[in-house]
Symmetry: C2
Subunit: 352 residues, 2 copies
């Protein structure tokens, strides 16, 4: 994969005996270990978020941890963007269930050397996202730590019968995705490039767009609810890479998928980026991750209406990129209709 800037994090994930990256294998073990079939648990480990009984609605629970040196680099990430992103990625998990976020808990580990003003800026970014997505930050924890660790949990709610898991995709369903893909990975690559390249790219506008996709990803809350209301049979947010997340959705649904490569919505700025850095736009769109767009499956007759609804209400494009098939595994289709097997690639949080 031609992607020197991202070499360590994005690349072919070693496919183990269980067919997935190391993270997925470990999670499968943990799911066996932690029986979560207690009363009140409608959906436990393994989806974007958990669903639990909570009064008239289902509660949606999710948590994500951002670790310095793994998920972000303090040299290139501002405290404000970091706070924003930590909330947004959790909100995205609630969105991927078709839910509405409500409350947030923020736990922060911070080195003694970090300035109090940095922490205040961080919470400013948390507040930005909390305001934007109507999440109330109601608690959490602070601790000393060698490196910055930011762990956020968000609870939300979804009407009974309206939650969309990863498990409902059926053969012949269409595969759809919101927005553009690969922008966040392009932004990450750009943020690590020579400062002159960065400055020039930002000056041209497209650089700013890519950096924004990486540092301030948008969670698609309204879109997730519209997809759920429009009949989505399965849904996941693209956090680790289109092919890897699609593979996870297929695994949970017990189906396979075919993707028309020409229809994958490659972020347009990536073609500009390819002029200054050695990146492959389609590869970034297929496996870059962190775009936090929604990947869903819909019955064929529903696609058109849902797509126009998303465009009219949110200004968000919905692209149909392929279809669900019986069987298992991913297939790539080129313009001429040729098919070849496609490996799931993306970010493995536990890769060394």
């Amino acid at each position: 994969m031609v992607n020197p800037s991202l070499g360590e994090e994005i690349g072919p994930v070693p496919v183990g005996p269980a067919g997935g990256p190391r993270e997925d294998e470990l999670l499968a073990t943990l799911r066996r270990l932690l029986s979560d079939d207690a009363p009140g648990v409608r959906l436990g480990l393994g989806d974007d978020a958990a669903l639990v009984d909570m009064g008239a609605h289902l509660g949606v629970l999710t948590a994500d941890m951002l670790v310095e040196g793994v998920h972000f680099d303090l040299a290139t990430t501002s405290a404000r963007d970091l706070g924003y992103k930590a909330v947004a990625v959790n909100v995205s998990d609630v969105a991927a269930m078709g839910g509405s976020p409500r409350y947030g808990l923020v736990s922060l580990g911070v080195p003694a050397a970090v300035d109090a003003s940095w922490v205040v800026e961080l919470y400013g970014g948390i507040r930005d996202a909390a305001t934007e997505y109507a999440v109330s930050i109601v608690g959490g924890d602070t601790s000393r730590s060698d490196r910055v660790v930011l762990s956020v949990a968000v609870t939300g709610e979804v009407a009974r019968g309206r939650a969309v898991t990863r498990a409902g995709a059926r053969p012949a369903d269409r595969i759809v995705v919101t927005g553009w893909l690969g922008g966040a990975a392009g932004g990450l690559a750009l943020s690590r490039a020579d400062p002159h390249v960065v400055a020039q790219a930002v000056g041209w506008g497209w650089g700013h767009e890519l950096l924004g996709a990486h540092f301030r990803p948008a969670a698609r809350v309204g879109e997730g609810q519209a997809l759920a209301g429009g009949g989505a049979t399965a849904m996941i947010d693209v956090s680790d890479g289109l092919t890897l997340d699609l593979w996870r959705l297929c695994r949970e649904s017990g189906v396979g998928a075919a993707v028309r490569l020409a229809d994958v919505p490659v972020h347009p700025a990536l073609f500009e980026l390819a002029g200054v850095l050695e990146v492959e736009p389609l590869e970034l769109a297929l496996s870059g991750g962190e775009d936090y767009e929604l990947l869903a499956t819909l019955p064929a007759p529903a696609v058109k209406d849902v797509a126009s609804g998303l465009r009219d209400r949110f200004g968000t494009t919905l692209m149909e990129i392929g279809e669900i098939r019986a069987g298992e595994g991913l297939t790539a289709m080129d313009r001429d209709g040729n098919e070849r097997p496609m490996e799931p690639k993306g970010w493995d949080h536990l890769a060394g």
Copy 2:
């Protein structure tokens, strides 16, 4: 303070302009920054847990983060104990509101070098605590990290009108505390002592008790509900030290407190420990922290009934250690009735 083994973590906390340790000052800033008075939020930042509207009950939300090198040392802490404790300390926060824990989210950061079997053991400990406290672990996150970080969030519930915050203590209320204090700090000191001392102490039985208090603290869920039902006006769990946590309770209630030192339930094994290590039992009980006992205030007439209820139903002693006074600050009373001001001391999570 005579406590060489704990020197860096437990000691007089620098009392800043706001009158509290650095952690409390920062939290005060963050409370101002994050307005959490949104609809549905009954109690936001600053108590043991948050209270939010959730159907017929109030939801109780809390999160705690354990960081390697700060909260635990991998050389002396087993994976199983660590997993157990990470859940128990969150359950304790729910207990301190008078609530019942329900669901847990576990986020784990782990170095690439850590063995998968270590992670499985960790989740075994998480399962132990989840089973003991009837918490369903429904989600979370895993990530690579330089050092082990374990961040747990727990949701629970409490009947409307039954939640006990830190803010309701009134002058003349009695101050009560469950169980023994200082045992966890004694266990920590012992775990760091010469291996021969540890082996001998464990052989004598009392060493085992102290290590258990540190590595496997019990959350007082039933006791918390009994205290709430018995009329507790304020409650907090002793996570950072009796005097520091009492000071926090008083600050939130706008009152002061007087503590009879002779009535503080010093863990009996600490007197044995003082024979082999240079520790001061009363000091550990006053400022050691991590005992996760419940510290509450009760109207004087209620103490006797609540205490016998706790003894009969849970085998837990409830000790009356002093009383709430008008004004502010803490007062220590000796056997002869002499009084002197007492500084809040305990664990400051952000101290360098």
